[in-house]
Symmetry: C2
Subunit: 160 residues, 2 copies
Amino acid sequence: MVTGTALGSAPSPDAAVARPIPDAETIAALRGAVLVLARRLRRQQADDDLSATEVAVLGRIYRDGPATPGTLARAEHVQPPSMTRIIERLEQRGYLRRDPDPSDGRQVLVSGTERGEKFVEDSRAMRTRWLATQIDKLDEADREALAAAAPALVRLADLA
Amino acid sequence: MVTGTALGSAPSPDAAVARPIPDAETIAALRGAVLVLARRLRRQQADDDLSATEVAVLGRIYRDGPATPGTLARAEHVQPPSMTRIIERLEQRGYLRRDPDPSDGRQVLVSGTERGEKFVEDSRAMRTRWLATQIDKLDEADREALAAAAPALVRLADLA
DNA sequence: TATTGTTATACTCTATAACTATA
DNA sequence: TATAGTTATAGAGTATAACAATA
């Protein structure tokens, strides 16, 4: 199950043993690195008053436009009640607003505000600064590898 | 120190050319993907009774050998009291043991047990299975990009 | 006095279960 | 009945502060 299409394209002539790409060890390393990095990212941005996920939600709304709480919950892979709380906090700060959907009374449309947009613009640089600083400590090959893998990581995170 | 290389971003006309250094937008994407992925990884492995960090600590001890709580805390980027709790749980399960350092009474040496080794061996495949399955859904180019970036991600997570 | 580790405590994030309102 | 969202509640994970023991 782990293999399947992940079997190496092994152009090597003596491909007696085809290893999946990435192999199990690499996947384990990936997993560990993601967990540590996420922990550091969370702590890092405790500086200002919004959590990592809250900023992610806000950024998503300004990137992709208004959305329902359910859609946002699925996108961020949190449960609906968690999204309710996140939206609550962001609304309290005036960074977004909730409007009832006129055609379906069950639904709510979450949209950004001007103040929220300003916050996103101002904070994005600050929030990525720490990570940028860290990445800057790596050598060029590592930075290139990260840049090349970023879209794949995004797709990986977005998978259903 | 931020040299500006990772943040500077004069958009060039030939945007098709990959930039050697991740630009701010790529870094922001990386950040978001890492946060979502970590959340999914955590939830995924709630199946058995150990948290993601606990498994990471256990794996580290079996990979790198006995270590002090302080060293482990620095390696995983958690605070010492958090590491104390993690070690406590792992010790209760018989997966590792704490021995006083004979030459320095303040220090403690945390070592693995046979039972812990067996657990690590048995659980690693299980724990990486979900991630492997997800990665398997990506196309080959994405999988290769991830494999190529894994060491860089590990180094990024390990930075002081 | 500085260092290592622990105990006590509290907070943040997220989840599950139960409820409301609309379709 | 099914769906969207919310309220209520609980639990996991981690942190800070205060403390003990040793150097």
